[in-house]
C-alpha cells in the first residue's frame, strides 16, 4: 500500500531562504555550508553499528541509493523495517517499542507534515549542521522535527492506453477520459489522495483556505463517468486499470523510469492549481541507536544527501540554498518538472482542508452520488 504524506511549506520562506543563506555565509559557522558530520559523532555512530529505518521504499526519492551510499560511506548496517508503512504506522511503531532496544524499534522516521507537531513528544531534538538553511516554515524551532523534501501534485498517464494525456485540471472532465481518472489512495485517509482533491480546489475557484471546490470538482468527474474508484499504483497504471493517476511528481517520474517505455508513462504538472506537498524527518526519543540516527540526519542534510534526493525527483528542502550556492548540477536540475507557481499550505490550512475533505468526501462524492452504472 502506498504511503502518502503531506507537508506544508510557505513560499515566503523561499525568499527568506536566500537571506538566510547570505547571512549564514557571513557569520562564522562551525559546520561547512555543505553540511557534514563531526568526527566524534561518526565514531560514536560506528560504535553503535546499526541504524534502524522505517517506511523508506527503494524508489521513493531514490532512497535505495541514499541508504546504500550511507552504508558504504560510514560502514554502518541499516536495518530497514516495513518500506510500505504509512506515517500513522511509523508513529505507532515508535510508541510500541518504547522499552525495546531490539531491531524492531525505529531510530528515525520520515512522515507527513501534519504528524510533526502532534507527535513532538515522541521525538528527540537535534539540529543538523545545515539547520539554518532549512526554511523556518518547514521546521520546529526546538529542533524536534524538520522538513526533508517536497513534490508537486501531477498527472501520471499511461500513454499506451491514453495517448493524449491531460494538461490541466479541467481536462479531466473531457469525455475521452471516461473511466480513466484515479487517485492514489483513499481520499478519506491517504495524504496523496487528499492533497489531490485539495490541489483540484486551487484550479476551480478555491484556495488554500477553501478546499470545498475540490470536492465539487471530483463530484463532476464522477458524474462525467471519468472516475475509476481503484487505488492507483504502478501495477494498475501499467496494466491500464487506472490510466490517469494523480500522484506526486516524484512518484510519477520514478515510475516512468522503471517502465522505461514499456509502456511510456507521461508525467505532467497541471498548468493551473499547482500544489506542493512536504514531508518531515525526526529522530525517535526512544531510538536504540541515537548517534547513528544523528549521523544519518547529518548525511541527509549534507549537499551530498540532498542531491541524491534530487536524483529521485524530490526537491530537497535545502534546494534553494544549494542553487544559490551553485552546487546543483544543471542536468539534475533540468530533470525536474516545471513547478513554478506551486503553493504550499501552512499546517493550519492543511489541517482544515484535510478535515473538510475526509469528512466531506462521502457526503459530496461518495456512494450516494451517481457512480458508473452498477
Amino acid at each position: 500500500m502506498n504511503r502518502s504524506r503531506s507537508r506544508a511549506f510557505s513560499l515566503l520562506a523561499v525568499s527568506g531562504l536566500v537571506f538566510a543563506a547570505c547571512s549564514a555565509a557571513a557569520t562564522p559557522a562551525p559546520a561547512p555550508a555543505g553540511g557534514g558530520a563531526p568526527e566524534a559523532l561518526v565514531t560514536a555512530a560506528k560504535a553503535e553499528g546499526t541504524l534502524t529505518t522505517i517506511a523508506l521504499p527503494d524508489d521513493w526519492c531514490n532512497y535505495r541509493e541514499v541508504i546504500d551510499t550511507f552504508k558504504a560511506k560510514y560502514g554502518l548496517a541499516v536495518n530497514e523495517l516495513d518500506p510500505g508503512a504509512s506515517s500513522g504506522v511509523e508513529i505507532e511503531a515508535i510508541k510500541a517499542n518504547k522499552d525495546n532496544p531490539g531491531p524492531q524499534a525505529p531510530d528515525v522516521v520520515d512522515v507527513g507534515f501534519s504528524f510533526g507537531e502532534d507527535n513532538k513528544d515522541l521525538f528527540e531534538p537535534y539540529k543538523v549542521a545545515t539547520w539554518d538553511s532549512i526554511p523556518d516554515a518547514a521546521k520546529n524551532t526546538d529542533g524536534l522535527w524538520w522538513g526533508d523534501y517536497y513534490g508537486v501534485m501531477s498527472f501520471t498517464t499511461n500513454t499506451a492506453i491514453q495517448p493524449n494525456p491531460p494538461k490541466d485540471w479541467s481536462d479531466l472532465l473531457k469525455p475521452e477520459y471516461k473511466g480513466q481518472v484515479a487517485l492514489d489512495g483513499d481520499p478519506r485517509a491517504s495524504n496523496q489522495a487528499i492533497q489531490a482533491v485539495y490541489a483540484a480546489a486551487l484550479a476551480n475557484g478555491g484556495s488554500l483556505d477553501n478546499a470545498q471546490p475540490g470536492l465539487d470538482f471530483f463530484k463532476k468527474v464522477v458524474e462525467a463517468g471519468n472516475f475509476v474508484p481503484v487505488d492507483a499504483n504502478p501495477g494498475t497504471i501499467t496494466q491500464g486499470a487506472t490510466p490517469i493517476a494523480l500522484r506526486w511528481s516524484y512518484n510519477g517520474l520514478s515510475h516512468r523510469d522503471a517502465t522505461a517505455g514499456n509502456p511510456t508513462i507521461d508525467v505532467t504538472v497541471p498548468t493551473s492549481g499547482r500544489f506542493g506537498g512536504v514531508y518531515i524527518q525526526a529522530i525517535s526519543k526512544y531510538a536504540p541507536h541515537p548517534n547513528a540516527a544523528k549521523l544519518w540526519m547529518e548525511y541527509l542534510y549534507s549537499d551530498e544527501g540532498q542531491l541524491l534526493w534530487l536524483k529521485g525527483y524530490c526537491n530537497p528542502i535545502r534546494y534553494d540554498d544549494m542553487v544559490a550556492r551553485g552546487v546543483v548540477p544543471a542536468d539534475l536540475a533540468a530533470k525536474l518538472p516545471d513547478s513554478t507557481g506551486a503553493v504550499f499550505p501552512t499546517p493550519a490550512q492543511l489541517a482544515a482542508a484535510t478535515k473538510l475533505i475526509t469528512e466531506g468526501w462521502d457526503k459530496t462524492v461518495g456512494v450516494d452520488v451517481v457512480v458508473p452504472p452498477q
Binding site: G88, G179, G185, A189, S190, D231, P373
Partner: protein
C-alpha cells in the same frame, strides 16, 4: 449409533457450571491470555481514550454515526453473502471430488490448491481480478470480441458485487478444506442402506447426509463469515474511495496517513468483536436446533 451415545453417560459428569474438567482447557486459555489477551487489552483500553490520552466514551458514541453504522451493515452483508455462497458452492466442490466419482488425483489437487488459494488475498488477489474483469481485463476484452460488453450493460468489478466475487476466491477453498473430513465421515454404508430401504437420492440427502453434516457446515460458515469480516487489504485495493467497510475505516484511523483517532479505530474493532460474539450466539442457537432433530 444410539446405543453408543447412550453408553456415553458414564463418561459425562453431572452438569456443574465449572467442573474440574475445565482444567483440561487450561493450556488453551493460558495461551489465549498470554498472546491474545495482550493485544485485546490494548484494544479495550485504547478504545476509551481520545487523542490526548484522556478517558472518554466518545469513541463508542461515535459508533452510531451514520458513516460507521453504514460501514458495519455493509461489512456484515458482504461477509454473510460470501459465507453462504462460499459455503454452498465450496461444499458442492468438495463433495464432487470426494464422493462425486471424479478421479482420485483431482481430490488431492483440489485440496492442495485450496490450501494456497485460501490465503491468496490482499493486493495480489485484487489485482488478479482487475486484470481479469477490469475494464481492460483479459475476460472483458475476450467477451468484447464476441460483441458482449459487460461494462456497457452495467457490470463493474468496482462494486459490492465485484468485491463479493473476489472474496469468494478465498472463501470457496476454505470451505472445501474444512468440510472435506466431514464428507469423508459419511459412510458409504449409510447411502447403501438408505437405497436398500428404497430412499431416493433426495431423501438420502434430506434425512441422512445433510442432518449429519449440518453442524460442520454451519460451523464452517461462521469461519467464512469471520474470514470475510476481517479482510482489509483486498477491499482497499479494489474499492478505495467508494465502498465503506469497517476494516477499512479502522485501518484509516490506526494506520492511516492522516492523523486521525486511533481510539475510534479501537472502538470500532471492539464493535467487530461484538459482531463476532453475536454470530457465535446465532450459531449456537442454530446448532442446538439442528441437534434436536438428530436424536
Amino acid at each position: 449409533m444410539t446405543a453408543i451415545s447412550e453408553r456415553a453417560a458414564p463418561l459425562a459428569r453431572p452438569a456443574r457450571r465449572f467442573s474440574r474438567s475445565w482444567l483440561g482447557l487450561a493450556p488453551f486459555f493460558l495461551f489465549a491470555i498470554f498472546f491474545i489477551g495482550a493485544p485485546v487489552t490494548y484494544l479495550v483500553l485504547g478504545s476509551f481514550q481520545d487523542n490526548e490520552g484522556q478517558t472518554t466514551l466518545q469513541n463508542y458514541a461515535d459508533l452510531a454515526t451514520p458513516g460507521i453504522a453504514n460501514a458495519f451493515l455493509i461489512s456484515i452483508e458482504v461477509s454473510l453473502v460470501t459465507a453462504v455462497i462460499g459455503g454452498v458452492f465450496g461444499f458442492l466442490l468438495a463433495y464432487a471430488v470426494i464422493l462425486g466419482g471424479l478421479p482420485r488425483v483431482l481430490r488431492d489437487a483440489l485440496m492442495t490448491f485450496s490450501g494456497v488459494a485460501s490465503n491468496f488475498a490482499g493486493v495480489p488477489l485484487a489485482l488478479a481480478f482487475i486484470f481479469t474483469l477490469g475494464q481492460l481485463g483479459m475476460v472483458t476484452v475476450f467477451l468484447k470480441n464476441f460483441g458482449i460488453d459487460p461494462y456497457a450493460s452495467g457490470f463493474t468489478i468496482y462494486s459490492k458485487l465485484g468485491l463479493e466475487l473476489v472474496y469468494l476466491y478465498f472463501q470457496f477453498p476454505l470451505m472445501v478444506l474444512i468440510i472435506a473430513p466431514a464428507i469423508d465421515g459419511l459412510r458409504p454404508e449409510w447411502r447403501e442402506a438408505a437405497e436398500n430401504m428404497g430412499a431416493s437420492s433426495l431423501q438420502y440427502w434430506q434425512r441422512v447426509a445433510l442432518p449429519i453434516l449440518f453442524p460442520a457446515i454451519l460451523g464452517t460458515m461462521i469461519l467464512l463469515f469471520g474470514n470475510a469480516f476481517g479482510a482489509q487489504a483486498t477491499a482497499y485495493q479494489l474499492t478505495s474511495g467508494l465502498i465503506p467497510l469497517v476494516t477499512l475505516l479502522i485501518g484509516n484511523q490506526i494506520a492511516g496517513d492522516v492523523l486521525h483517532n486511533p481510539g475510534l479505530g479501537y472502538a470500532m474493532a471492539m464493535g467487530m468483536v461484538a459482531v463476532m460474539g453475536a454470530s457465535i450466539l446465532v450459531y449456537t442457537v442454530l446448532q442446538r436446533r439442528a441437534e434436536r432433530w438428530r436424536r
